[in-house]
Chain length 405, copies 2
């Protein structure tokens, strides 16, 4: 299942960013499961990673290499195996992957960052993985096909590839931001989603690149949840090739930030629309909170409530479950009489109970939609947050009772 239609966009090339894929037989035969992304010499990268304490071996190695001072040139991503919960063997395998790619490409091992996604706790099939690297390197290309195939090559339980692209004008020149992402289950990223790779030809100073990545991830990937489960492998990388105009000065930074947010948000939302078993796309908008953290806490409590999620699946305007979830959110000195809850354009709750004008027919009409907005005003402050989620369907249970992830 998945919500709505989604076509992978025709991505413009970003000069110097080349992507290659291979069918290495890691996941299953005849499927792209190995991706190499090459950045040109002089490119800068910023990365954010999972906060799961059991982070995967490739996350540890990617962090080390990013901090090594060596300029990163290659990202190598395999699907079908997360190389997580694999202890020392996992670290050795992640390092060996980088070393082999570095040898083939003629760069230091620290210039290669590894990423894995798939089943947790199985050793990486190193022989097949290493054997696939030459084909991925031979296939490196800049065009739309290379971007689309890379988008396909990182998927696990996803039913479709996820890409987003914007073109901006900065200092009179055209700048492109392209991104691909994957993720469908074990999704409540805490720092970055499962895997996302975003590139731009704009030139950004390293500190600005880092700051913009953190800031935009906070407003996009960190605002989605499928099942409240934070993965061991979450990572989001942002590449600046440095070949385009320089992003500096308030105006240019604002233009670039807005474009980046748009790409990140489209990718994050694409993950929710393709969430495991999803039949609904739900926007939770919490307003009137004391702090953004409080707004996020309320939004995530509602978004992760199995009872709210099953009601959404059933298209049941069961506002009592929304109210109960809001009521158990970790909010100090909560005055429920000031809370209002709206479902689309229909007022559900005010003054601690059902809104006077509410009718079941009006609520049901909104719930029948495929895209639903739930707006919660806490009536106690000025802070707000928006979180995107989906429903809990029979297919979610089937997928996760059958698939070993």
């Amino acid at each position: 299942m998945a919500v709505g239609d989604a076509t992978f966009p025709e991505m413009p090339a970003i000069a110097g960013v080349r992507l290659g894929t291979a069918m290495a037989g890691i996941k299953k035969p005849g499927r792209r499961d190995l991706v190499v992304i090459e950045a040109p010499a002089g490119a800068r990268m910023a990365g954010t990673f999972t906060r799961n304490a059991f982070c995967a071996a490739p996350v540890t190695v990617a962090r080390e290499h990013l901090a090594s001072g060596e300029a990163p040139r290659y990202l190598v991503i395999n699907t079908g195996n997360a190389n997580a919960g694999t202890g020392e063997t996992g670290l050795r395998d992640a390092r060996a992957t980088c070393e082999e790619l570095a040898r083939l490409a003629g760069v230091p091992a620290e210039a290669v960052l590894p990423f894995s996604t798939g089943v947790i706790g199985e050793p990486l099939p190193m022989e097949r993985l290493l054997a696939g690297l030459p084909a991925a390197l031979r296939g490196l290309g800049e065009g739309a096909t290379a971007w689309r195939q890379a988008g396909e090559g990182i998927l696990t339980t996803d039913t479709r590839a996820k890409g987003a692209s914007v073109t901006l004008e900065i200092a009179g020149e055209t700048v492109t931001v392209n991104g691909i992402a994957k993720g469908s289950g074990m999704i409540q990223p805490n720092m970055a989603t499962m895997l996302a790779f975003v590139a731009t030809d704009a030139t950004l100073e390293q500190g600005l690149l880092d700051a913009l990545l953190r800031e935009t991830v906070e407003r996009s990937f960190n605002c989605i949840t499928v099942d409240g489960d934070t993965s061991t492998n979450d990572a989001c990388m942002l590449i600046s090739t440095g070949r385009g105009p320089t992003v500096e000065g308030d105006e240019a930074i604002t233009v670039f930030r807005n474009g980046l947010v748009r790409v990140m948000t489209e990718l994050a939302q694409a993950i929710i629309r393709d969430g495991e078993g999803a039949t609904k796309f739900v926007t939770l908008q919490v307003e009137g909170a004391t702090t953004r953290r409080e707004a996020l806490d309320v939004a995530f409590t509602v978004a992760n409530s199995p009872l709210v999620k099953t009601a959404l699946y059933a298209s049941d305007a069961n506002w009592g479950r929304i109210l109960a979830a809001v009521g158990r959110a970790p909010v100090e000195a909560f005055d429920v009489d000031r809370v209002t809850i709206d479902l689309g354009e229909v007022r559900l709750v005010e003054q601690g109970g059902r809104a006077p004008g509410y009718t079941e027919a009006a609520g049901s009409a909104v719930m029948a939609r495929e895209e639903i907005l739930i707006r919660i005003d806490l009536g106690r402050g000025e802070a707000s947050a928006t979180v995107w989620t989906n429903d809990l369907s029979h297919d979610y249970v089937s997928i996760n009772a059958d698939y070993r992830s």
Copy 2:
């Protein structure tokens, strides 16, 4: 679905505690849905209630009456309607219910405590409810049948009535503790479960009664979760008739506390075994934590993970999901290399990865059982906690996509 067999026990009478039921047509015709519990003059009661900010009208009124100084004599419980999210009307209805029962029984209204469970947000059908009270009063009885029928009269999506009873010897005399409870979904109580009523003939001073209720609820009902959703109506009442021996002195208090814990724990576990769609009963034992709060946080993070719960449903020894859930628990400065995870007698995880001796066959053999123990040692302290939960099945989705609760 439900885990294992469960027969409602043959409860001995507790002199002066009488229970009566009626079929008032609140839930559906021909089903017990109204219960009155009478305590004798001179009885003492203690109560704990939900911490959901949107607490139901009967919870507000029960709290008020308990604090009024008037000795409580009657509990009146309806199922089929939670009288939650009903604003001022709900409060009026809860008070009117107490007043009518008080009038019929010849006591002040403050001596009556109201409880409701069922669908949220619909007004109580007052005419039918009030019309049922005389029949419930006429039917008051002390024996095993009265306890069983009261156990049936408080159910919602539960598939079976839940009762527990112990007899103890205190000061050379026999003391009985009887309890009934209900709850199947919207279960992660925060103070007390959906509804539980426990009575004893032992005599306890009010402060001790309050303290023992809080303490034993903390170790029983507050350690279970079906779906992480805290209800608007949770309440647990403990009645001491004051007709039996007095519980005083360390030895007697220990004997009584242990008996009370046993009744509470049996009731709490019965709720989990009968959790919505449950096919497995799972004990999560977290040890080696810095504080009990930390142990509970880890246990509840694993217990509420949809990915762990669907793996349990599938009898899939998917230890990677347990590891990922432990890793995202809110624990500061978490050294995963010190963590061990055991599934029954099988070591799954040590030193940050799969235990060397682990085999899929051994893991699967444990997962195939109906009752499963998961033991997590954080290796960082002396505190521990035990939490009980169940799996996430297709039936959970069906029940909650079909039932308006």
